[in-house]
């Protein structure tokens, strides 16, 4: 799951620097890694790729601010679904 998230973020980076490294805890918004279309694209991606719906309560932008946070959100949602 983590690799898919990292791949999605790197596909959407606005920085073309080859050396750039996304650490699991990096705040991708604060670091200026992505543009204004990113949140919507990410949400669509998560919902389609992981077959889940993110509710309003989880829509907080901070839930999508790092690889670890995105992974935690998906895990939480998919665990609820499989319960």
């Amino acid at each position: 799951m983590k690799e898919k998230i990292v791949k999605f973020i790197s596909d959407n980076l606005i920085n073309l620097d080859d050396e750039i490294e996304i650490k699991d805890d990096d705040n991708i918004f604060e670091k200026g890694f992505v543009n204004s279309l990113f949140s919507m694209k990410l949400l669509n991606y998560i919902e389609t790729e992981f077959n889940m719906e993110v509710d309003d309560d989880d829509m907080e932008i901070s839930n999508f601010s790092s690889v670890n946070r995105i992974e935690a959100l998906i895990k939480k949602k998919t665990e609820v679904l499989s319960d």
């Binding site: 073309l16 204004s36 279309l37 990113f38 949140s39 919507m40 389609t48 309003d56 829509m59």
Partner: protein
């Protein structure tokens, strides 16, 4: 395509050919799009075309909605712009991010044409750099107070609700604002080169009190979710609107060149006229095929659909401009005369290179997309 949808699109063509196209020049001249016609478009199910049936919609998929947009857009850009702002921009934002109460409150009436909505993002000093908006909201118990101004807002002159994007300095939110609320002043913008019947206006908000429950989406999601979603749908609508102008202009130049004679010959026999027609046909056919692909990506919610939609909007606005320019050329002096639709198509095409992201800012996004997508590919 199901028979129901086929019939629906056929009836849309009939509607466009009898109730819209013959009057397009008159709408411009009077700078009015009849209220009765908006109602009829609602009744005909165009205004809620993408909404689910439970909200009085037609539940059209992206491809068929594209075809509907083209049918309406070929007849008249004002009618198409109503679909763009009301159905695509505002409708899609509520559908995607509104809660059930909000959807029930607005979508059925929007679908019927009982209420008209407009999308208010641009301001006198803020256009492309939309994240710098200055229109403010301030929280007050169960309401927010909105102050500021918006400019160039399509259909706002007759809108019942505006989806207003505002900031409190830290967060950006989107609110459905009833235009009858005290403090909302709508001033029509006259003297426009195009979109003359689209009720484009400037709006002042002076201490406008809006119930908190009119916020669409999560707190702080105004830009990241609402604007992004609305513009994504808006660009898809404009893409088909551009194809519509291009196709209408091609048909006009084909018909004119087969009738007009110079030097004792029909002008289509001149190879330089044929070149313009050939380029138009080739551009339209390839762009149409691309739009069909984009429709399918959107249907799949594919991760490239946002960028591919941006490419589609950029491309179709370019070909609409080029083909309508050539159509004016083929018409000679008549191309400048408002008894010939190409005169209007030429002016309307230019709008598409500016709205929902100017060509320049879309080129920035497309080049970045290309620089990533085609880097170090293993052949």
């Amino acid at each position: 395509m199901s028979e129901v949808i086929q019939d629906f699109l056929e009836s849309a063509k009939e509607f466009a050919n009898t109730k819209i196209r013959p009057f397009a020049a008159e709408f411009e001249e009077k700078q009015q799009f009849p209220a009765q016609l908006i109602k009829e478009m609602g009744k005909a199910k165009f205004l809620g075309a993408t909404f689910p049936e439970k909200y009085n919609g037609m539940n059209l998929d992206p491809y068929n909605y594209g075809l509907l947009t083209e049918i309406i857009g070929k007849a008249d850009c004002t009618a198409r712009s109503l679909l763009t702002v009301h159905t695509s921009l505002v409708g899609s934002a509520i559908l995607r991010w509104g809660n059930e109460a909000q959807k029930n409150k607005w979508l059925p009436d929007m679908a019927e044409g009982n209420i008209i909505t407009a999308f208010a993002l641009t301001e006198p000093n803020v256009g492309t750099d939309a994240s710098s908006i200055q229109t403010s909201y301030e929280e007050k118990e169960n309401a927010v107070i909105i102050n500021g101004s918006k400019k160039w807002i399509t259909f706002s002159g007759v809108a019942d609700y505006l989806l207003v994007i505002a900031t409190n300095g830290k967060k950006v939110n989107a609110y459905m604002v009833d235009t009858k609320t005290p403090g909302v002043t709508i001033k029509p913008i006259k003297g426009l080169m195009a979109a003359k019947a689209s009720y484009i206006s400037e709006i002042e908000f002076t201490n406008v009190e809006v119930p908190k429950e009119n916020r669409i989406g999560v707190d702080g999601g105004g830009f990241a979710y609402i604007v992004s979603t609305a513009l994504d749908h808006g660009r898809y609508s404009i893409a088909w609107g551009g194809l519509a102008i291009a196709q209408e202009a091609l048909e006009a130049m084909v018909n004119y060149s087969r009738e007009r004679k110079q030097f004792g010959k029909k002008i289509y026999t001149f190879q330089l006229i044929q070149e313009m027609i050939a380029n138009a046909v080739a551009n339209i056919h390839s762009t149409r095929a691309f739009l069909e692909k984009v429709a399918s990506l959107r249907q799949q919610n594919h991760q490239d659909s946002v960028n591919e939609t941006i490419i589609a909007k950029y491309l179709t606005s370019k070909i609409a401009m080029q083909i309508s320019t050539d159509a004016v050329q083929v018409h000679g002096g008549n191309g400048f005369y408002n008894k010939y639709p190409v005169e209007r198509l030429f002016r309307e095409a230019k709008v598409l290179e500016v709205i929902e992201g100017t060509s320049q800012v879309l080129q920035n996004i497309i080049s970045l997309y290309g620089l990533k997508k085609y880097y170090k590919i293993n052949c």
